[in-house]
Amino acid sequence: MTTRKNVLPGFNLSLGYTIFYLSLIVLIPLSAAFIKTTELSLHEFWAVVSTPRVVASYKLTFGASFIAALINAVFGLLTAWVLVRYTFPGKKIIDALVDLPFALPTAVAGIALTAVYSNNGWIGSWLEPHGIKVAFTPLGVVVALTFIGLPFVVRTVQPVLEDLEAETEEAAASLGANRWQTFYKIIFPAVWPALLTGFALAFARAIGEYGSVIFIAGNMPMVSEITPLIIITKLEQYDYAGATAVAVVMLVISFILLFAINGLQWWLSRRNGSAL
């Protein structure tokens, strides 16, 4: 980077507007949540956010999000690989469809997944005889979260794979490495940061998800109740301060997670130097 003075105009205006709009839409409203929580003493706050039922919901929300992100990491990598490296009929359609969970309303996804995975649904009725229940169990939560997180790993890994120089692989092959070694030693290290970013994005997106999960989860206290539902439940009992207290816990975690993702991406771009 050059050290000379930046001569481009519009810094004050653009940054000013950015901060103004950000404050108006995001920061001030979010601060309302924090301020509302101050109605509780620290002791009360802790009591609200650490009751067994709420803690069980964190475990489910973060656990299911983590598993879903993991599934997406594995299959997303495979999908990206197939889409970049192989040709087969209908590839373009598949490529476009990967973004579907992003564009499809979550409520629609929720009722569609429930219809398909409940024990009289197309897939559910196949799994039922094998003793596998998806809808209305924590497994259903994982399915819904896998669905909504699906595009993220594919879309972060895809460009890196496309960018990979064939020469390095050829060199590895000519030096006697077999295909697995090439993947393990050459390809995987290259896509690893992108994979991690995609994983983190899918994870972050899954934690907050409400619309699709609520239909398929079963919502049993201590078992299949997600944290956003706890917030809604508290609201419905007119417990605003309690609801915002749980919301604040989620907000802080989201922020930390995002900060980590951005740090990761920054590190990634540093490491790759010129690339993007």
Partner: protein, 335 residues
């Protein structure tokens, strides 16, 4: 006044409402209600609009909003400007007073029958032929029986379910609190899915095929039977249930602001008339007017009903003991 006219003009522009004829006023009335009343109020609104038209010449357009009772009450508290609120239980209406002072303290005595123009109760809906042989509450606690009910924390109907079960168990155990709790606990151990609202539970039971028995509003059970499969389900009436009184009220502050006080009051009064009661009965709500009740006598099964005030000391107390954080419902799930 000028401002509200402007707002009205803007509103009509946005919603494409054609300009009203010069003499007939168009009145917009908002009824915020709970989940299972959708079909009932759809019919009732038409009847009321016709009634009001012949009486005053004005057109009433009743808009409705449906959802879980607690959620709807909260929306009104947060400023959803309902002219009338028709909710599932008095506790939720009480909150309009307590949290936002939208209605006077004595709201419940303003209309007859505790402001409940129609009543209902809790019954069981079972699958055809009643394969698990479910007759009464005790059968719901047996192992291998799967019970569907919404979550009492989020659904008004579910609270009635819970209290009906509680009342039965209390009577059965001679008022022994610990045994009663154990009974209700056992019942809820048999619940595989807790939907957030009554409608969600019905869908789970009917469409998804989950559960052996659905605890439901009587009108919901009739409706599900009618809409979703004649002959696929049977209604089982327990030996004891609870008299569910869904109350109605004018939301004074908002009705006044809209200048709708008179029409809002007339709307609720119309619920008590013979026409209103007919429509309620046709939608499987138990009418309170004696003449209509007699006419539909055969439609509703006879069941011994306990009342919330006598059995539980009113909604405020019931809510606190059973459904607040750490109440008996929470205790069931915390070992």
């Amino acid at each position: 006044m000028k401002k509200s006219l402007l707002a009205l003009a803007l509103l009509s522009a946005i919603y494409g409402i054609t300009a009203p004829a010069a003499y007939a006023k168009d009145i917009n009335l908002l009824n915020v209600s709970y989940d299972p009343t959708r079909e009932f109020y759809q019919d009732f609104n038409k009847a009321f609009a016709a009634f009001w038209k012949t009486k005053t010449g004005d057109n009433v357009i009743v808009k409705t909003s449906h959802g879980g009772s607690g959620k709807q009450a909260r929306a009104i508290i947060d400023g959803l400007d309902a002219d009338v609120a028709t909710l599932a239980l008095a506790y939720d209406v009480d909150q309009l007073q307590e949290k936002a002072k939208l209605i006077p303290k004595d709201w419940q005595s303003r209309l007859q029958n505790n402001s409940s123009p129609y009543t209902s109760t809790i019954v069981f809906l079972v699958r055809k032929g009643n394969p698990k042989g479910i007759k009464d509450w005790t059968d719901l606690t047996k192992s291998g029986v799967s019970v569907i009910t919404p979550n009492p924390k989020t659904s008004g109907g579910a609270r009635w379910n819970y209290l009906a079960a509680w009342a039965y168990a209390k009577k059965q155990n001679g008022g022994d609190e610990a045994k009663t709790k154990e009974f209700v606990g056992k019942l809820f151990k048999n619940v595989p899915v807790l939907d957030t609202g009554a409608r969600g539970s019905t869908t789970t039971f009917v469409e998804r095929g989950i559960g052996d028995v659905l605890l439901a509003w009587e009108n919901e059970a009739f409706l599900a039977q009618k809409e979703l499969g004649v002959g696929k389900f049977e209604i089982v009436v327990p030996s004891l249930s609870i008299l569910a009184e869904p109350p109605v009220t004018v939301v004074d502050k908002f009705a006044k602001k809209h200048g709708n006080e008179a029409v809002a009051k007339a709307y609720l009064d119309y619920l008590y008339t013979e026409e209103g009661q007919e429509i309620a009965a046709k939608n499987y709500y138990r009418p309170t007017l004696a003449s209509v009740a007699k006419k539909y006598e055969t439609q509703f099964p006879k069941v011994k009903l306990v009342q919330i005030d006598q059995e539980f000391g009113g909604w405020q107390k019931a809510q606190k003991t059973h459904f607040s954080d750490g109440g008996t419902f929470d205790q069931i799930y915390q070992k």
